[in-house]
């Protein structure tokens, strides 16, 4: 029984996560189409709702090609690493307060660990491996350049990311994600208390997920497909899925750290039964996360890509000093206000 609850939680979360990810691909294509005055995929199922399924079946039925020059073992391993790490990160995110079902209080979080936020940062830093190894093992110039660019980019922005989180930790006084959410009750969302930290964190998240305008690793005009040029079939699909999973996960992290997580301001005043409050909070969490995902998507189709030197300059010369400064200001404000 004790092990049953986590197993159920994991299956539900992974199921919902993968479902959302599959449909985010469709949403992105539809939004892109709308922005470019096209229709987008609308033939498979009602309004294209079965498109994700069709895509997966297509990818499964493709021939799996491993170039002769490639290092087969690492070439196989890289997409698995990317995907597995993208999924694992979600384990510590609180998607709701506790809920009472069948007389048992269930915490709506897969694992509540003491060092939650550091766990997320550590997993983010592991994300470098899938991309670097795929780039190197393919033994193609495009892949290698994509992989290298990507790892240098992720390393650079990880610093700004780590530093902007520290401001949040100072306010909450804890590394636990559920505590961080609990301190953001009422109007005290961290986006209001930490505006600079919020901006640096969001920018760093874009860079960490290799999303536009930081998608240099797969800049089509120069690098064909970047690090996944030499992948086909579901292995390519895994990189694709990992990118979208990372996008959803980082939206969830941003929500948790800065947008109050599952909190709905002043819900207590409405006098609803506890069960419905919990349900509403989970819904609020999902809505916040998805709005951020839409933000990620809309950004991709509205602004141009950085040049690589601009990207590195932004990371090292703007983001890094800005987040250190933010830290000092936060310290002074907490001390004297």
């Amino acid at each position: 029984m004790e092990l049953l609850i986590p197993v159920i939680k994991i299956s539900v979360v992974l199921g919902v996560l993968l479902g959302v990810v599959a449909y985010t691909v469709l949403v992105e294509r539809r939004v892109a189409a709308a922005i470019q005055n096209r229709v987008g995929p609308n033939r498979v199922g009602w309004n294209g709702l079965l498109q994700p399924l069709a895509d997966v079946i297509k990818l499964v039925m493709k021939e799996d090609i491993v170039p002769k020059q490639a290092n087969r073992f690492i070439h196989d391993l890289a997409p698995m690493i990317s995907m597995a790490i993208a999924l694992i990160t979600f384990a510590v995110i609180p998607f709701g307060d506790s809920i009472t079902l069948f007389g048992q209080a269930i915490k709506l979080q897969i694992a509540s660990v003491n060092i939650g936020i550091l766990y997320i940062l550590a997993m983010t830093s592991l994300g470098v491996y899938g991309i670097t190894l795929s780039g190197w093992s393919s033994n193609s110039k495009y892949s290698l350049l994509g992989g290298l660019r990507s790892s240098a980019q992720m390393l650079s922005y990880e610093l700004a990311m780590g530093l902007s989180v520290i401001g949040v930790v100072m306010i909450a006084g804890s590394l636990e994600l559920d505590k961080i959410v609990q301190t953001q009750h009422g109007w005290m969302w961290n986006i209001l208390l930490q505006p600079v930290g919020f901006v640096t964190f969001v920018v760093a998240s874009f860079a960490e997920t290799n999303r536009h305008p930081f998608d240099l690793p797969e800049a089509e005009p120069e690098l064909v497909g970047g690090y996944h040029t030499e992948y086909s079939g579901l292995k390519f699909g895994l990189f694709f899925l990992a990118e979208y999973t990372n996008m959803v996960t980082s939206s969830a992290v941003i929500t948790t750290l800065f947008l109050g997580g599952w909190q709905i301001p002043y819900i207590g005043l409405a006098g609803l039964p506890a069960f419905w409050v919990s349900i509403l909070q989970v819904l609020a969490f999902c809505v916040k996360v998805y709005l951020l995902v839409l933000f990620f998507i809309i950004i991709r189709w509205t602004i141009p890509r950085f040049r690589y030197d601009q990207l590195m300059n932004l990371g090292w010369k703007v983001m890094l000093p800005l987040s250190v400064l933010n830290l000092l200001v936060t310290g002074l404000v907490i001390l004297y206000l």
Binding site: I115, L121, W136, L145, L148, L155, E158
Partner: protein, 175 residues
């Protein structure tokens, strides 16, 4: 065997096996890659011992930083990849002496130390808090010295960069 024991042997096996691979592999890329699992296993062991902050720091710094540096170093050096590493014995005498010294020192420490055996797992709910407290009170001087050490390393890195800029004035455009 409890779940704890299973987890311990699992992580210990990963650590030892991959460490052996690091040493015995003839392909330096595989060596570097196996090191990933060694670090990971060690992080798992730390977590099992209740030192969760150290475990995550291990992941963040060793896996996320140092190993990436190693991989860069290995991958970016053409000659290294195709070369078969010598894993035979070179300089047996100094190696034996060194081994004896290190092993002796370690077992000496192991025997001398008055191990503080706890009945159960320590309550590590607040390892980060304790570590921070210790850093900023009892161990303040080493903590501040750490910043100076990091500074020295930064200056060293700057020196490498500068020499690179001078010797290769026409460096390739941004890749």
């Amino acid at each position: 065997m409890s779940l704890f024991d299973i987890a311990f042997y699992f992580f210990a096996l990963i650590t030892v096996a991959s460490a052996a691979l690091v040493v015995f592999s003839r392909n330096i890329i595989y060596s570097a890659f196996a090191l990933l699992f060694t670090f990971f296993g060690v992080a798992g062991l730390y977590a099992l011992l209740g030192a969760d902050f150290v475990a995550v720091a291990q992941l963040l710094i060793y896996v996320g930083g140092i190993l990436v540096l190693l991989l860069f170093g290995v991958m970016l050096t053409t000659k290294l990849v195709s070369v078969d590493m010598k894993t035979g014995t070179l300089q047996a005498l100094p190696a034996t002496l060194l081994f004896a010294a290190v092993a002796g020192a370690l077992s000496g420490v192991y025997i001398i130390t008055d191990w503080n055996v706890l009945a159960g797992a320590p309550d590590a709910a607040t390892t980060a808090v304790t570590i921070g407290d210790m850093f900023l009170t009892t161990w303040l001087l080493p903590f501040e010295i750490a910043s100076v050490v990091l500074l020295v390393a930064l200056v060293g890195a700057a020196m490498i960069a500068r020499r690179d800029a001078r010797s290769k004035p026409t460096q390739q455009a941004a890749l």
